[in-house]
């Protein structure tokens, strides 16, 4: 015996139309992929268009902030969890890298790997406490943990490691892929590195999103209790997602340290976490690349508006966030995408409608 429903007839028609629409043949290279590969290639050519050194400096900053934003947005997009404490991983990775290189005398590569390994370890430890909570409680706890570490880093007892309020000039030893400190402080070289990292991070996060694990996260976001009633543990997947997002933030932090070779405590401050959140929301956390565009808008806007010593930047940021939240909740990129889809649908009405009416 099988069940049928009253709309099964209509359903069958739609199914037929659907299958008729699908082209036969094996897996093909989908046009979307061609576009994506093209965009990645074009990205490497940005320095050809952005020629001024200051402008190049800006796009590098935007890329680093954008990667940081990708990490924060990952948690929002996949789990609806908003962290206000990821400066812990951004700044933490930067400082760990700085300390391993400067005080430990390690080469760039081991220092970098140790810093990122440390991020994973700390994220596991902190996350195992945090991911039991959801919603505003989670956000407040991330803030508390972030501030705890920020305060710790500023204490006189930790001054010998962090440099305290004086900051930490990072002394780098050895090379990474044949590059030295001098190359890292060059915005053109750094752009290439950042863009490569952007590509890898986007690809990795995209693959995670499409994987079964990504589906599981989405299911947890939509109805966590039901996931448990399906026999899945929900604690571990959320913890893993938290660690992934922390790792991405940490990667951005290491890039920051490489590029600036100087660290000050504000990389750990909660306003740094806030910036990652702001760029995610401006660009849109529900799209893959939203945070990158958000970071570009934020960085360029900052540079344009904070010239001549005026510091009304936070005012503009506030207005921008309000405007986005009121008029484009999905963020700039998200809203443009939605509009594009809507326009396309208007041009060619869905097959279902044509056939069944």
């Amino acid at each position: 015996m099988t069940l049928t429903s009253e709309d099964s007839m209509e359903r069958r028609i739609k199914a037929d139309v659907g299958s008729g629409n699908r082209r036969p043949g094996g897996p093909r290279l989908r046009p979307m992929w061609v576009v994506k590969v093209g965009l990645v290639a074009i990205g490497f050519l940005v320095p050809l268009v952005v020629t001024g050194p200051y402008q190049r400096h800006l796009v590098v900053n935007a890329a680093i902030l954008g990667i940081f934003g990708l990490g924060v947005a990952f948690l929002i997009r996949r789990l609806g969890m908003v962290s206000l404490g990821h400066a812990l991983y951004f700044g933490g990775a930067a400082y760990a890298f700085g300390a391993f290189s400067t005080h430990g005398g390690l080469d760039i590569v081991p220092a970098l790997l140790l810093a990122l390994g440390g991020v994973v370890a700390v994220a596991l430890a902190v996350g195992s406490l945090l991911v039991r909570s959801r919603g505003i409680a989670f956000t407040m706890l991330t803030l508390a943990f972030g501030q705890f570490v920020f305060t710790l880093a500023g204490l006189t007892q930790t001054r010998s490691v962090t440099g305290g309020d004086d900051g930490l000039p990072v002394r780098m030893n050895g090379t990474l892929l044949g590059l030295t400190v001098r190359d890292f402080s060059n915005p053109t070289t750094m752009w290439t590195i950042c863009w490569a990292v952007v590509t890898v991070v986007l690809l990795a996060l995209g693959l995670i999103g499409r994987s079964r694990f990504g589906k599981l996260l989405e299911a947890i976001r939509e109805n966590e209790e039901r996931v448990r009633f399906n026999g899945s543990n929900t604690y571990l997947p959320v913890l893993v997602a938290y660690v992934v997002s922390a790792l991405v933030a940490g990667i951005a932090g290491v890039l920051f340290a490489l590029y600036n070779s100087f660290l000050s405590l504000d990389v750990l401050a909660w306003t740094t976490s806030g910036n990652a959140l702001i760029v995610s929301f401006i660009g849109g956390c529900w799209t893959a690349t939203g945070p990158l565009w958000g970071a570009l808008i934020y960085t360029v806007g900052n540079a344009m508006l904070v010239s001549g010593g005026r510091n009304e930047w936070q005012l503009y940021v506030g207005v921008a966030v309000i405007v986005v939240m009121v008029f484009a909740k999905a963020g700039v990129v998200g809203s443009l995408q939605a509009q594009w889809v809507r326009r396309r649908e208007r041009r060619q009405p869905p097959v279902d409608l044509v056939r069944t009416s």
């Binding site: 049928t4 099964s8 079964r212 599981l216 209790e225 039901r226 448990r228």
Partner: protein, 232 residues
């Protein structure tokens, strides 16, 4: 007896939702639970499925008291439930719903289940976009993945037409027979309950009013006064 439940008592701030309620489930049989709104039926399912833990209840499943076990543990070991209010993932495709559970429970025969539920043509649609009746099927379907020993079906017919819900009731009974599964079946449509159930427990105001075969329950004066009479 695959599942023996005893001494379930649940209180919400002064309101006694359940008082010393118990019942037995047997493989291959459908045990109906009826009772007016607020009788405590869903709360009982919450206790048996692990959503509500604590208290002195004893829930003996295959010889082991599982009262302290988590929802996840119980589901993995064969106590599944569906929900009175549809509980699906609106943004996931119907296929993804089944894949998620099938992978967790290592069930390789979900395709048959999907066919039996008539969900084949909907596999690639987002669950939020299929009809309400189909969402209910997905809800129940997820509970059936992995061939649970016990299915707790909390008003599977809620929101469906009478004929649809009767069809669903018969389908569930057939599954109980074919898969040798014990079913706890909650339903307001008394006719459907009398048709498909092998045993019936009547709850009223958190207490067991009576328990027995459909014929016994039908003839009971107390039940008629408290429940059946009013329902017509």
């Amino acid at each position: 007896m695959v599942l023996t439940v005893r001494d379930v008592t649940v209180r919400f701030k002064g309101v006694t939702a359940l008082e010393d309620v118990g019942l037995d489930l047997q493989r291959g049989r459908v045990h109906g639970v009826i009772g007016p709104n607020g009788a405590g039926k869903s709360t009982f399912v919450d206790v048996v499925s692990g959503r509500r833990r604590g208290g002195k209840a004893s829930i003996v499943f295959d010889g082991e008291n599982v009262a302290g076990r988590s929802v996840t543990w119980r589901r993995r070991h064969g106590i599944a439930r569906s929900f009175q209010r549809t509980s699906v993932f609106p943004d996931l495709t119907v296929r993804a719903h089944f894949e998620l559970v099938a992978r967790t429970l290592r069930d390789e025969s979900v395709d048959e289940l999907i066919d039996a539920l008539g969900l084949g043509p909907l596999l690639d649609r987002k669950c939020g976009q299929v009809s309400y009746g189909d969402q209910r099927r997905v809800d129940i379907g997820m509970a059936l993945v992995g061939g649970p020993a016990v299915l707790l079906a909390d008003e599977p017919g809620a929101g469906l037409s009478r004929s649809q819900s009767l069809e669903l009731a018969r389908f569930i009974r057939q599954l109980a027979r074919e898969r040798d599964m014990a079913v706890l079946y909650i339903e307001h449509d008394v006719d459907a309950v009398f048709e498909v159930c092998d045993d019936i427990t009547v709850l009223n105001l958190g207490r067991v009013l009576m328990s027995g075969s459909p014929a016994e329950v039908r003839q009971d004066n107390g039940v008629r006064d408290a429940y059946l009479g009013r329902e017509g």
